[in-house]
């Protein structure tokens, strides 16, 4: 009798296992974030993308994420996710590049997607967004609205994405205002609200009347509003933090891309490729144009539309370097993608030095 009970138990166990086995045929998708999902900036937007995948594909997928993964720990974190059965893994910070490639080489049947990097392999795709397109639009707005002709720029680290952002901003501003100057403070952090606030205050004290930022917290916006100055938000629509003076925000929109890539795996059509899109691919959005006169808002919207349709390229040649010499034009009348992706020089009119 006891044997029978045991047997029944065992059968139940086997059945239990096998049903969960069926359920496990969901595609398991994982995300690795460099910051906390609560940063309301970069990692927050990636997580919004994850939630969009869950919403769009419902019970066909199961998603997991690891947040605040330090770069030196990412090797293990990514492999843990593989071992937990994830078949598609998005690693969302540049610092995860080598670890992603290492783990990918070990697990050829798992697909990887690495954000903002440049190395690919058979099962590692790369993706990034042309954030500089949004910066150009910001520059146009700032160039129109500044009275002091001084813009304050709170920057994080001198990596190509940030440098090309500063240049695009300046080019946009110069297109409508020849006398404009930009002051840059490197906060040397992606996220430290207090320090970002202090940086914004220092810039305002030194005469900037519009603040833009390439760091992730809404603190600079808030400081600008506290002094009645205009500002731009970063990564997500931050208008709630400064409703009276936010002009617009550059919004990272990973939703469509993530849904498309997960679908590709579901359909068996996933390929390793590089995606680098901006307004046209709906990877970068501008939040509504607010707190500005209608003509400036229209100009901003027109600029956005022109970039989206391809009529306008932020880095249209001739682009003058800091020393006044023309930058070699490797694209067709524009700087090519490689030049933008590895940008390590300032354009004319920027009064700052890059570490060489």
């Amino acid at each position: 009798m006891r044997h029978l009970i045991k047997l029944a138990g065992a059968t139940a166990l086997v059945i239990g296992l096998s049903t969960s086995g069926f359920a496990a045929e969901k595609l398991k998708v994982a995300f690795v974030y460099v910051g906390p999902v609560g940063d309301f900036g970069y990692s927050y937007q990636h997580n919004e993308g994850r939630l969009a995948v869950e919403k769009a594909l419902g019970d066909k997928v199961e998603t997991t994420f690891l947040e605040s993964v330090p770069e030196p720990d990412s090797d293990r974190a990514i492999e843990q996710l593989v071992r937990a059965g994830n078949k598609l893994i998005f690693t969302t910070s540049f610092g995860y590049m080598e670890p992603t490639l290492k783990v990918a080489a070990k697990y050829p049947n798992v697909f990887f997607e690495h954000a903002t990097g440049y190395k690919r392999s058979a099962n590692v795709a790369t993706y990034s967004a042309k954030f500089h397109e949004g910066r150009y639009v910001q520059g146009v707005i700032a160039g129109k609205l500044t009275k002091a002709n001084v813009i304050g720029y709170v920057a994080s680290f001198p990596i190509p994405e940030v440098v090309s952002g500063i240049n695009a901003f300046m080019l946009g501003a110069q297109s409508v205002n020849k006398d404009i100057k930009v002051k840059i403070v490197w906060a040397n952090t992606w996220f430290d609200p207090g320090k970002e606030a202090d940086a914004a205050k220092a810039l305002l004290d030194q005469g900037a009347d519009i603040i833009t930022q390439h760091t992730d917290s809404p603190a600079p916006l808030q400081q600008a509003e506290a002094r009645g100055k205009l500002a731009f938000g970063q990564a997500s629509d931050m208008i709630r933090f400064a409703p009276k003076t936010t002009l617009t925000s550059i919004v990272d929109n990973w939703n469509d891309y993530y849904i498309a890539r997960v679908k590709a795996v579901l359909d068996g059509k996933w390929k390793s490729e590089d995606t680098w899109g901006g307004f046209d691919a709906n990877l970068v959005n501008m939040a509504p144009y607010t707190n500005m006169p209608a003509d400036v808002a229209k100009m901003a919207a027109d600029t956005e539309a022109a970039i989206k349709s391809g009529k306008l390229h932020p880095f249209t040649c001739p682009v003058m370097g800091q020393d006044g010499k023309e930058i070699e034009c490797k694209g067709k009348g524009v700087l090519d993608d490689g030049q933008i992706l590895s940008m390590n020089f300032y354009i004319k009119g920027i009064d700052d030095k890059l570490p060489q």
Partner: protein, 316 residues
């Protein structure tokens, strides 16, 4: 706004949370206990303060909640290091880890929520008063008065705390007893002083200050909550206590010195002097070391309480 005054206000905001947290830690260390959990208590204070302020709509309740949260965590620490004579350094570090995690759990529901910063005091503009408007230098005087009396309430609390602690440790009987306990716990015990009880109160006070400093971050400095917003300020507070040689007035100066250095390096960057940003960012830390070296020349003792960090277990 006057340029110098503007910079000074930025310095004051950057300094106040450091000062408040460091003052609390100073009292704790004077009693002979080293609490390395400031960062964790600050983080939890910031989260609880913001959460309570949002839920009740009251800044006062928020501040009270932050203080209570800091005290609650410090009570756990007190239980470990006083009740169980556990190692203070490790317990403090464990408290930091736990506190940072806890702050994330409490704050998670408040990401993206906003509220107005705690306002500064408004001092009436004298230059607008009919009777006084022809008085010489009236606008300058009005500016100075606005600067002196027109900060946020926390700034005055921090200054009062500094003065109060200076008086308490230097002039009051209770303060002398607390210092005696920190200097020599064994003799203090044999003299009949309540070593454990005194330290317990000191630790709670330190927790309250750390919680208050956290509330400053999420209610005044940058009025929102986000994970990791303390960004290492608890550690700086700890270093400032050492910088001050455990003396409250020197702590006041030390904190403002550090705050000024951090703000000045940002100004130096904005002025595009062509110095690498990393070097300027390192400036406050290097300047602090150099200042401490200069102040230390010729002194023999660094002023640390002699019983600092050693657990107290009475012989019988």
């Amino acid at each position: 706004m006057d340029f110098a005054a503007a910079i000074m206000i930025t310095v004051i905001t950057a300094t106040t949370p450091l000062l408040i947290a460091a003052l609390g830690e100073l009292v704790v260390e004077k009693s002979g206990v080293l609490n390395l959990g400031i960062e964790g208590m600050m983080a939890t204070g910031a989260a609880c303060g913001f959460a309570a302020a949002i839920l009740t709509g009251s800044t006062f309740v928020g501040v009270a909640a932050a203080i209570m949260a800091g005290m609650a965590l410090s009570a756990v620490f007190a239980f470990l290091v006083l009740g169980l004579a556990a190692n203070q350094v490790a317990s403090g570090l464990a408290l930091t880890i736990g506190g940072i995690g806890l702050s994330g759990l409490i704050g998670a529901g408040f990401v993206g929520t906003t509220r107005q910063p705690v306002p500064r005091f408004e001092f009436p503009d004298l230059s607008a008063v009919e009777l006084l408007k022809d008085f010489p230098y009236i606008s300058e005087i009005a500016g100075v008065l606005q600067f002196v009396f027109g900060q946020d309430p926390f700034v005055y609390v921090s200054l009062v705390l500094a003065g109060g602690i200076f008086w308490f440790l230097g002039r009051s009987r209770a303060g002398l007893l607390l210092k005696a306990i920190g200097e020599n716990q064994v003799s203090a015990h044999s003299l009949g002083l309540k070593v454990v009880w005194t330290r317990f109160l000191a630790i709670l006070f330190g927790g309250a200050c750390a919680g208050l400093a956290g509330a400053y971050l999420s209610l005044v400095y940058t009025p929102f909550w986000s994970p990791g917003m303390t960004a290492g300020r608890g550690w700086i507070a700890l270093a400032l206590v050492v910088f001050a040689s455990w003396r409250p007035v020197r702590l006041l100066f030390g904190a403002y010195f550090f705050g000024a250095a951090t703000v000045l390096q940002l100004h130096a960057q904005a002025a595009s002097l062509g110095i690498p940003a990393q070097l300027l960012s390192a400036f406050p830390y290097i300047a602090t070391i150099i200042a401490l070296v200069i102040m230390s020349v010729g002194r023999t003792s660094i002023g640390a309480p002699a019983s600092l960090g050693t657990p107290f277990v009475p012989d019988r």
